[in-house]
């Protein structure tokens, strides 16, 4: 019930706002603490990538399109190369398809752990952020070991993948995912038992099953409203037709449901990775492809961590595409966000927006340190930087090594 004495007013959130990591603008109409409606202004991150793709070769576009998103970079590059391969009628080696799925599932684990941390942060549960982001380092290290990078892996090329997975790396992934599985099980237990999480997330950001379908929601946002859709099963690509897995759905219809779906999906990803790694076929990882792609068109779908990613490519027989169209999952979930916020409290806004998992990216691999006193330049490699950070904290009384050993045990 609205209090008749409360005034109606509008507050702008963004485009630059400390609690949102990406530039978006939400103009929130309020009556007291209740949200009457939200007007969303997007486009601050528009970089003209579709136009730029028309002016570059297909191979250059693989790298450009990988940079559409910092978190789902492999999702975008895979969706793009799949479309080009379909037009050129290429037979991509099976080993390459398996490697694409392996990187895809590792990326999903990294993305879902990241999301859980962000969700914890948005509800003032920063311990959860610290825990999940520490655990996420396991998968980040695996991705860095295989691809040479924490994000923007550069694994895909037209006709296959650029790097193989060695037997040693295979063993490392299997070891790493054992640990990730154990942690995922812990977080599931936490989500099912911890009163803070249950009370704060239940009944928040509600979207019913019918509304989720009507509003075109995708990914975990839709699956948490019992919309049983997943491109990996419904329209399989890469190696997904050859492995068994469950599509996780939930009937909570709220942010709590979205949390449960993502957490259970972690276990499914681990299950998929074990199958992909044990069944990794022998053979080449790529085929040679002509620079010119014959005229044609293809639509490619990919189940990114945030939902269905859609790429359409039209070729004209040259070495540059005629048209590249990209529909990222966040755009599909925007209508659902407006619906979820209506008539809710303003304090729910950050977690409701975070619950569709919009994304941000940043990464550094090498840091050049200028010593102010000696004018000496020193280049620190990743391991050095890590050791430096651990020692820096130890000197100040923070020693995480015991905790790390405990987790490993």
């Amino acid at each position: 019930m609205h209090n008749a004495h409360e005034h109606e007013f509008k507050i702008p959130v963004g485009p630059q706002h400390p609690s949102l990591k990406e530039p978006e603008n939400f103009s929130v109409a309020l009556k007291g603490e209740r949200i009457l409606g939200v007007d969303i202004r997007l486009g601050y991150n528009h970089r003209g990538i579709e136009k730029a793709a028309e002016e570059r070769t297909y191979v250059q576009d693989v790298y450009l399109i990988e940079r559409v998103c910092g978190i789902c970079s492999h999702a975008h590059s895979t969706a793009f190369v799949q479309a080009v391969e379909e037009i050129a009628k290429l037979q991509v080696p099976r080993r390459a398809l398996y490697i694409r799925s392996i990187i895809g599932e590792l990326e999903r684990i990294h993305s879902h752990f990241l999301w859980l941390g962000v969700a914890g942060h948005e509800i003032g549960f920063d311990t959860l952020l610290m825990y999940t982001w520490r655990d996420r380092e396991v998968v980040m290290d695996l991705l860095a070991q295989i691809t040479g990078n924490r994000v923007n892996y550069g694994m895909n090329t037209i006709g296959g993948v650029r790097r193989d997975i060695s037997d040693e790396q295979r063993k490392d992934i299997l070891k790493g995912i054992d640990r990730l599985e154990e942690r995922a099980k812990y977080y599931i237990k936490l989500a099912l038992e911890e009163t803070t999480i249950i009370k704060r997330l239940s009944g928040v950001g509600v979207v019913s099953h019918d509304d989720a379908i009507r509003l075109g929601a995708v990914g975990p946002t839709a699956r948490a409203s019992e919309v049983d859709r997943d491109v990996r099963r419904d329209d399989p690509y890469a190696a997904y037709a050859e492995i068994s897995f469950n599509v996780i759905t939930d009937d909570h219809n709220d942010v709590y449901g979205r949390t449960i779906v993502r957490l259970k999906e972690l276990l499914e990803s681990v299950k998929m990775l074990r199958q992909l790694l044990s069944g990794l076929p022998e053979g080449p990882i790529a085929i040679r492809v002509a620079r010119k792609i014959p005229a044609g068109e293809a639509l490619s779908r990919y189940e990114a961590p945030r939902g269905e990613d859609v790429h359409y490519v039209k070729s004209n027989g040259t070495e540059k595409p005629e048209r590249v169209k990209i529909r990222a999952p966040t755009l599909a979930n925007i209508q659902a966000v407006k619906h979820m916020l209506r008539d809710r409290y303003l304090a729910d806004l950050p977690i409701v927006i975070a619950a569709i998992d919009p994304c941000f990216s940043c990464t550094d691999r090498l840091i050049a340190v200028d010593h102010l006193d000696s004018h000496k330049k020193e280049v620190m490699k990743w391991e050095d930087l890590r050791r430096y950070s651990i020692d820096w904290h130890k000197e100040r009384g923070f020693d995480f090594s015991k905790l790390g050993a405990k987790l490993k045990g």
């Binding site: 528009h46 859709r229 329209d235 639509l299 779908r301 359409y312």
Partner: protein
């Protein structure tokens, strides 16, 4: 008869269109082209009767003197139909499909900003994705548009 062939036969039957206007690109991919005058009826039949109830994306295309739109519609069994239609470039007026899919709102705004389509019935709202001060008559995804040096 494969799944796609069955769907193709159903579409030909329901939409009353020529066989050469609809083709199977690969398993789970069908492409179909209709005149704009037949579009509204075709779209209604596809979404209501043939259960293409997922809107994956809308692609705009600049094809010389015409502007084309492809509506990528999916069924729950994974089949995707690329429904293509086109209008004259000098009068690119199309009807909104937000009455069928409310998620189409942002996709149609892209058509307006990037290609210069006029979408009748599109609800009032902020432009997307270009900035508020971007000239109304400049549409970057048109082939004759070049970035200023």
């Amino acid at each position: 008869m494969s799944n796609e062939e069955g769907t193709r036969a159903e579409i030909i039957n329901k939409l009353n269109i020529a066989e050469d206007k609809i083709s199977i690109l690969r398993p789970r991919r069908i492409s179909c082209e209709v005149e704009y005058s037949d579009f509204a009826e075709a779209f209604k039949a596809l979404t209501a009767d043939l259960k293409f109830n997922v809107l994956c994306a809308i692609t705009g295309l600049d094809e010389a003197d015409r502007l084309s739109v492809i509506y990528h519609l999916a069924k729950d069994d994974g089949t995707v139909l690329n429904l293509k239609t086109s209008v004259e470039k000098n009068n690119p007026v199309i009807q909104t499909i937000t009455t069928f899919f409310s998620s189409a709102e942002v996709y149609e705004r892209e058509l307006v900003d990037l290609f210069g389509f006029k979408v009748e019935g599109l609800p009032e709202g902020n432009r997307y994705p270009l900035t508020d001060d971007w000239p109304k008559d400049e549409h970057p995804l048109r082939k004759d548009w070049k970035p200023k040096q």
